[in-house]
Symmetry: C2
């Protein structure tokens, strides 16, 4: 694990994980989460509300973060909106340096936590205290303002087959899909982009994460790839076809970022604090990638 | 089945089928092949050389074309280059109006037929007599000059994981992949495009066909979609990474054409004869699609 500065930026970072991150061996992604949270001596909280088996989720992360020498680790189990609005419960987040949202169902997560004191506390942690917010699988999809909620896409894109819900809005102007290549979700993400090309699509493979640091840049880590779909130039007939049919889609811009890709996207003077993007020679940013992340990072 | 003019164009059409076309029920694609060949009274030949079970292949198409009322149908079984160069064998193609290449292995097909009198006769049928050449699965991949031959791509694109062979060159400047969405071949086609973006990628789903009529246009038919990958604008690090690693790929242009898409791409005066593209109101051609097919159709 590369040593990072402990200087905290004004705004924290988002670690968006495509599900199935390694929890038993190298734990690359979880170790980076610990680092992004400020190190193993910081306080980490695992929010299990997306899952119907929260204790099992916690058992996994309790063991993994224990093996990463994080002493101050705790679960935040909330099963009702009452709990999510209980100041005594929410207090657990007040000094959290890292908040990790488990997998499960993003609709369940938002149904319980959306608009509650827990959501407010997470935004405060991210924006005010430079905490790291991580989410895996459902926790990854929940990070965006427009959240991929339901879909019955099968082989090809289908008009009306993807519905969006309201997520936590840590990230704007995008839709995140996870387990991307493993569950063959290109058609689903293309559908979301075709339905409103204002939203750009981010597909994250399993055991892979996209690190987004607002005002700084992005980095891909883990074992797989991140696929980006930019539909802003699209020519499509989606408005002229019936629900359930496949729209024609001309000129979707696809970018594939393998693990290790990292881009400092903003000028140094834009930086609010230290960069959490991996060090190295500065990499020139190709224009289509800069345009993709323009209103995102 | 829509009635087509029997006027034959100077150059025939290519029906590139993604494998698994329906042979038992509506037989949409096979019926269109009959139509493109001039109708059920014309002579159709099924070239089975890609398959190690040629008689089984023929049994399937014998039944299917029989049900489509094609009386003059025959198999062309060739298992050796000697047979493929035997004028008595090749004579079967001399007055064929439609030639259908079965599935199997495109390397086997080219190994037996490549550079033989059979290949010469197929080019003569297409270019000189306006015959239709169809190919499904391996037969589809074999149609291009640079043919997708081998690959061990798994989840993501991998440098060096796709190798090309020499195909029949009925179609230039492209690589065709088949069973596209069913066998999750986006990564493989992306790899081929990244390795040399001069080649554009055409991915055809099962029970789906791309009809290409040189000098006229293209049409998609069947049950699925055709995915087009244009890598000419790509920014990639593929030349700087080791074999087996995933290249970064920025700005691949993706076009998805569902069944029913059809474009007249060339000016009427370019047409050598009748159009085999489905009738209807002329459809404006989006610029990125025109550019994709620029040196292909």
């Amino acid at each position: 694990m590369k040593k990072q500065s402990e200087t905290r930026p004004g705004r924290g970072s988002l670690l968006i994980i495509g599900g199935g991150e390694d929890r038993k061996h190298d734990k690359d992604i979880l170790a980076r989460f610990v680092e992004l949270s400020g190190g193993a001596d910081r306080k980490l909280v695992v929010l299990t509300a997306a899952s119907t088996v929260p204790q099992e989720e916690w058992d996994i992360y309790d063991k993994a973060f224990g093996e990463l020498s994080v002493a101050r680790r705790s679960p935040l189990h909330v099963a009702t909106r009452e709990q999510a609005n209980d100041p005594a419960v929410v207090r657990a987040l007040d000094d959290a340096d890292g908040i990790f949202m488990s997998g499960g169902d993003q609709k369940r997560l938002l149904g319980i936590v959306g608009g509650t004191l827990i959501e407010t506390a997470m935004h405060a942690a991210l924006d005010g205290r430079g905490a790291c917010i991580a989410g895996t699988s459902a926790g990854a999809s929940a990070m965006t303002a427009h959240m991929l909620a339901d879909s019955d896409v099968e082989l090809g894109p289908e008009k009306g087959a993807v519905s969006l819900g309201a997520g936590f809005a840590f990230l704007l102007h995008v839709v995140v899909d996870q387990h991307f290549v493993q569950r063959h979700r290109l058609a689903r993400l293309l559908t979301a982009v075709a339905q409103n090309p204002r939203l750009k699509g981010i597909g994250i493979d399993e055991d892979t994460a996209l690190l987004v640091q607002h005002g700084v840049g992005v980095e891909v880590l883990g074992a797989g790839n991140v696929t980006l779909l930019d539909g802003r130039h699209i020519v499509s007939n989606i408005d002229d076809i019936r629900k359930g049919l496949t729209p024609e889609m001309i000129d979707v811009r696809l970018h594939l970022l393998p693990s290790g890709s990292r881009y400092l996207l903003c000028k140094p003077e834009d930086k609010a604090g230290a960069s959490h993007i991996a060090d190295g020679q500065p990499v020139p940013v190709p224009a289509p990638l800069r345009e993709f992340f323009d209103n995102i990072v």
